[in-house]
C-alpha cells in the first residue's frame, strides 16, 4: 500500500471522527429550541456539550490540514470549488462557537435568545451543508484540466447531493437526541427520547436512500475490493441505524447512542470507499478526476506526516477519551429554576472553607 492510500484512509477516519463527534453537538444545537421548556433546559442542553464541542470541532481542522498536507491538489480544488458553501459553513461555525461562550455572559433574555438562535442556525446549516458537500464530492463536480471548478453554486443543488444533506441533517439530529437522552434527566430526557423516535424514521429513509443511490450510481467500481467494502459499510450503517432506533424504543440509551455512532462512522466509510481511488471526481471527464495518485504530496511529506500522526493521534484519542470520562455524568439543572447572572458557584457540597 502506498503512503498516499494510507493518508486517504487517515482523512476518511478524521472525517468520520468529526461526524460522529460534532454530529451530536450539531444535533443538540438543532434541538435547542425544539426540546427546551425554559432557560434552565437550554442551559442543561448547552452544558451537556459544553466541555467537548470545541475538541470535537478540531477533528474538522485536522481533516482540513491533513488534506492540505497529504493531497494539496485535492485541498486546493475542493476548497476553492466549494467556495460559497464553505463560506456559509464558516459563518455558521463562527457564530455558533462564539454563542456557546458568550450566551451566559450577560443576564438579558434578548441577549440569550439571540445567541440561542445563533446556536440553532450555526448547527443546522453545517449539519445540512456537510451532507450536500459530500454528496457532490462523491458524485463529482465539473473540474477542468487546470483543476478549476467550472460550475456555480447551483451545480451543487442536485437531488442526490440534497438527499445527502437531508441525510446528515436527520442523522445528526438523531445523534443529538440520543446524546441528550443519555446525558440529561427528567422531562428533557423523556422529550429527547421522543425526538429520537421521530428523527429515526426520517434518518433511516433519507440515509438508506442516499447510501443505496451511492451504491447504484456513484461507486468508482462495483467489483473492486473497495466497491464491495463500500456496499458492506452501507449495509452496516443501515443495520446500526435500525439498531439505534430499536434500542431507543427499549430505552437502552447507551446502546442507542453507540449504535448511531457506528452508523455515522460506517456511512462515512461507505462514501470514502465508494470514492476511492478518486478523491474528487470530475464530471467533465474521468481522466480529469483527482485521485490518490495524482493529487498526493511527495513521499517525503507523507512520511513525515505518518510518523507524526502515529505518535500523536493515539495521544489525542487518549486525552479526549479522558475528558469524556471526567464529564460522564448526566447534566441536571439547579434544584429550583433560577437564572443566576453569572456561571453559578457550585453549591455547598464541599467542606467548610479553610481560612487562609
Amino acid at each position: 500500500m502506498h503512503l498516499s492510500d494510507l493518508w486517504f484512509i487517515a482523512i476518511a477516519v478524521l472525517w468520520a471522527g468529526y461526524f460522529v463527534l460534532e454530529g451530536f453537538d450539531f444535533g443538540v444545537g438543532i434541538l435547542l429550541p425544539l426540546l427546551s421548556r425554559g432557560d434552565t433546559d437550554r442551559r442543561v442542553m448547552i452544558n451537556a456539550i459544553g466541555p467537548v464541542w470545541d475538541g470535537n470541532e478540531v477533528w474538522l481542522l485536522t481533516a482540513g490540514g491533513a488534506t492540505f498536507a497529504a493531497f494539496p491538489s485535492w485541498y486546493a480544488a475542493m476548497f476553492s470549488a466549494f467556495y460559497l458553501p464553505l463560506l456559509l459553513i464558516l459563518v455558521a461555525l463562527i457564530i455558533r462557537g462564539v454563542a456557546f461562550e458568550y450566551r451566559g455572559k450577560r443576564d438579558h433574555a434578548r441577549w440569550r435568545a439571540g445567541w440561542d438562535a445563533a446556536i440553532f442556525l450555526g448547527s443546522l446549516v453545517p449539519a445540512l451543508l456537510w451532507g450536500v458537500a459530500f454528496g457532490n464530492i462523491v458524485r463529482g463536480i465539473p473540474l477542468n484540466a487546470a483543476e478549476h471548478f467550472t460550475g456555480n453554486f447551483f451545480t451543487f443543488l442536485n437531488p442526490y447531493a440534497l438527499l445527502g444533506g437531508v441525510t446528515t441533517l436527520t442523522l445528526f439530529t438523531l445523534h443529538g437526541a440520543l446524546f441528550l437522552a443519555l446525558k440529561t434527566t427528567g422531562g428533557l430526557r423523556a422529550r429527547a427520547r421522543r425526538a429520537a423516535m421521530a428523527a429515526a424514521p426520517a434518518a433511516i429513509v433519507a440515509g438508506g436512500g442516499f447510501l443505496a443511490w451511492t451504491q447504484l450510481s456513484y461507486r468508482a467500481s462495483a467489483t473492486s475490493g473497495e466497491g464491495i467494502a463500500s456496499a458492506a459499510c452501507a449495509a452496516l450503517a443501515a443495520v446500526a441505524l435500525a439498531a439505534a432506533a430499536g434500542a431507543n424504543l427499549r430505552q437502552r440509551e447507551g446502546a442507542a447512542f453507540a449504535a448511531n455512532f457506528t452508523a455515522i462512522a460506517a456511512a462515512t466509510a461507505s462514501l470514502f470507499t465508494a470514492l476511492y481511488p478518486r478523491v474528487l471526481p470530475s464530471t467533465l471527464s474521468p481522466a480529469l478526476s483527482l485521485t490518490t495518485g495524482n493529487a498526493a504530496s511527495a513521499a517525503q511529506t507523507l512520511a513525515v506526516m505518518t510518523v507524526v500522526a502515529c505518535i500523536f493521534l493515539p495521544l489525542v484519542l487518549a486525552y479526549q477519551g479522558w475528558t469524556y470520562w471526567i464529564f460522564r455524568k448526566r447534566v441536571t439543572g439547579p434544584p429550583q429554576p433560577s437564572v443566576p447572572s453569572l456561571p453559578p458557584a457550585p453549591t455547598g457540597s464541599r467542606p467548610a472553607p479553610r481560612v487562609p
Binding site: R43, N47, G50, P51, V52, D54, G55, E57, V58, L61, T62, G64, G65, F68, A69, A70, P72, A76, F79, S80, Y83, L84, L90, I94, I95, G97, V98, F100, E101, Y102, R103, G104, K105, R106, E147, S297, A298, Q300, T301, V304, M305, V316, Y319, T323, F327, K329, R330, V331, T332, G333, P343, P344, A345, P346, T347, R350, P353, R354, V355, P356
Partner: protein, 493 residues
C-alpha cells in the same frame, strides 16, 4: 477590484483581526495559569480571584481567536488555491501538525479547565491551564514555521518547470533561521501584549473612584506588578529578537524589506536611520525629515559604517535575476508600519514602567497639589491605552513584514499574483463583505463584554466552592474537589 486585490484585502483583514486575539490568548493563558498556581502555593484567596477574573477575560478573547482561526485554515484553499497546490507539500504539513498537536490540546484542556472547577483537584485543574497555554505556544510555533518558510524558503526543492516545491528536510523547515529569529520575536510580543492587558486593567482598578475594597486593591496590586513586569520583560525580548531578525533579513534574506521600511532608495555606506518623514516617500526630497546618522547601518549590519542596500539598486538586481517587473513593496505602508510598531511598543513600556513606579512598595498614587487632576487623568488614560498599544504594535509588525515581502508570496519563488484562486470576483467580494461585517459586529460585542467584566472587577467573580454566605468563602486550594466526580455536573454556560 480584481480577484487578487479582493483576496489580499480579505486575507489582510481576517489575519490582522485574528491576530488581535491570538497574542492575548498566548500570553494571558500563562499568566492565568501562573495566578492559579500562586493560589495553590500560597492559599491566598486573592490569587484565586485574579485567576477567575483574568480567566474570564481570557475566555472572552479565546472564543474569537478560535472561530477566526478556522477561517485562516480554510482560506488558503478557498482564496489561494494555486498557492496551496504548489506549496502544499511543505506548507500543509505544519498546518496539519498544528491541528493535531496544538488545537486538540488547547480545546480539550480548556474545556476541562472551564468545566472542571468542581471535578478536578486544584493541581490538576491548574495543570489543565498550563497544558492549554502550552498548546497555544505549540500552535504558534508551527504556523510561524510555515510563515518563516514563505519569508525564507528552506528545506525544499523548487522545481521551476512545474512551479512546485517538494520537501527535502522537515527539520530544516522547523528550524529555519528565519523561524528561530521570528518565533521568539512574536512570542515575546504576545507576553508583552498580555502583560500590558493585565497591568492596564489592574492600574485602572486601582485608580477608579470610588475606590475598591482593600483586599481587591491588594489583589490588583499583585496583578499590576505581574503584568507590568511581564510586559517590560517581553519588550526587552522583543527588542533583542527584533534586532536579530532585522539583521538577518537586511543582510541576507530580504534586503528590500528593510530598504522599503526605511524608504532608502540608494545604497548607503553608512546609512542613516529615518525617524520620521513629512512629505512623499517616493525618493524625491521630502518636506521634512529627521534622521539619525549611521543608526541604520548599525541596526542592519551591526557595524556603524556598514553598507545598507537601497531600493533602486535592489530593484535592478532583482530585475536581472527574476525578470522584468517591479520588486518594490508599497513603501509608505512598510515605512510607517515599521515606525508605528516600534513607537507603540516603546510607549507601552513607558506606561508600564510608570505604573510600576507609582505603585512601588505599597504606594498608591496620591493626587494632591496643583496638578493633581491632570496627573490622575494621565494615569487613567495610560491605563486605558496600555492594553491597546501592543495590539496595534503587533498588527503593524505583521503588516510590515507581510507587505514588505511583496510582490512575493514565497520569497524568490512564487509571486502573490500567481497564488490566487480562479474564483470569480463576485464570490470573493461576497466573502470579503460577509467577513468584514461579521468580524466588525463581533468586535463590538467582544469589546462590550470585555468592558463589562473589567468594570465588574473582582466582586463579580463567584468563587468555586463559595457557600454563598456573603463572605469570601472561596477557601484555599486545600478545600479540595468538594463537588467530586460523583456529583452531578454543574452548569457553567
Amino acid at each position: 477590484m480584481s480577484v487578487l486585490d479582493l483576496s489580499r484585502w480579505q486575507f489582510g483583514i481576517t489575519t490582522v483581526y485574528h491576530f488581535l486575539f491570538v497574542p492575548i490568548t498566548i500570553g494571558l493563558g500563562f499568566l492565568v495559569a501562573g495566578f492559579e498556581t500562586a493560589w495553590i502555593r500560597t492559599g491566598h484567596e486573592r490569587w484565586l480571584r485574579l485567576t477567575r477574573f483574568y480567566g474570564k477575560l481570557f475566555l472572552i478573547n479565546f472564543a474569537l481567536g478560535i472561530v477566526t482561526g478556522i477561517v485562516q485554515e480554510f482560506q488558503f484553499g478557498m482564496n489561494w488555491s494555486a498557492y496551496s497546490r504548489l506549496v502544499g507539500n511543505i506548507f500543509g504539513a505544519p498546518l496539519a501538525i498544528e491541528a493535531l498537536l496544538a488545537f486538540f490540546l488547547e480545546s480539550t484542556f480548556l474545556g476541562l479547565w472551564i468545566f472542571g472547577w468542581d471535578r478536578l483537584p486544584p493541581r490538576l485543574h491548574a495543570a489543565c491551564m498550563w497544558t492549554a497555554a502550552t498548546g497555544t505556544l505549540l500552535s504558534a510555533y508551527f504556523i510561524l514555521a510555515a510563515n518563516a518558510w514563505m519569508q525564507h524558503p528552506v528545506g525544499s526543492r523548487y522545481n521551476a518547470a512545474t512551479g512546485q516545491d517538494n520537501l527535502t528536510s522537515f527539520a530544516a523547515v522547523l528550524f529555519n533561521p528565519a523561524q528561530l529569529a521570528g518565533f521568539p520575536h512574536v512570542v515575546a510580543g504576545c507576553f508583552m501584549t498580555a502583560g500590558s492587558l493585565v497591568a492596564g486593567v489592574a492600574l485602572w482598578q486601582l485608580l477608579r473612584r470610588p475606590g475598591i475594597p482593600a483586599d481587591h486593591a491588594l489583589a490588583f496590586r499583585h496583578a499590576l506588578k505581574a503584568g507590568a513586569v511581564t510586559a517590560i520583560a517581553g519588550a526587552v525580548a522583543v527588542v533583542i529578537t527584533g534586532d536579530a531578525q532585522g539583521k538577518l533579513f537586511t543582510q541576507h534574506y530580504q534586503p528590500m524589506k528593510m530598504a522599503a521600511a526605511e524608504a532608502l532608495y540608494h545604497t548607503s555606506t553608512p546609512a542613516p536611520f529615518s525617524l520620521l518623514t513629512i512629505g512623499s516617500l517616493n525618493g524625491s526630497h521630502p518636506v521634512f525629515e529627521i534622521t539619525l546618522p549611521r543608526l541604520l547601518s548599525f541596526l542592519g549590519t551591526g557595524n556603524w559604517s556598514g553598507t545598507v542596500q537601497g531600493i533602486d539598486n535592489l530593484q535592478s538586481q532583482y530585475a536581472a535575476a527574476y525578470g522584468p517587473g517591479s520588486y518594490i513593496p508599497v513603501v509608505p505602508v512598510t515605512y510607517w508600519s515599521f515606525r508605528l510598531m516600534i513607537g507603540m511598543g516603546m510607549l507601552a513600556v513607558l506606561i508600564a514602567v510608570v505604573a510600576l513606579w507609582v505603585t512601588r512598595r505599597g504606594r498608591t498614587p496620591a493626587f494632591t497639589g496643583k496638578r493633581a487632576g491632570l496627573w490622575r487623568t494621565s494615569l487613567v488614560a495610560g491605563a486605558v491605552v496600555l492594553p491597546l498599544l501592543p495590539l496595534i504594535g503587533n498588527s503593524m509588525g505583521w503588516i510590515m513584514t507581510e507587505m514588505g515581502r511583496q510582490p512575493w508570496l514565497v520569497y524568490g519563488q512564487l509571486k502573490t499574483a500567481d497564488g490566487v484562486s480562479a474564483n470569480s470576483a463576485g464570490e470573493v467580494l461576497a466573502s470579503l463583505v460577509v467577513f468584514t461585517l461579521l468580524y466588525g459586529a463581533l468586535a463590538v460585542i467582544e469589546g462590550g463584554l470585555m468592558l463589562k467584566y473589567i468594570k465588574g472587577g473582582l466582586a463579580g467573580e463567584p468563587l468555586p466552592g463559595a457557600d454563598g454566605d456573603g463572605d469570601d468563602g472561596g477557601g484555599g486550594p486545600g478545600a479540595g474537589s468538594g463537588g467530586g466526580a460523583d456529583a452531578p455536573m454543574e452548569l457553567v454556560y
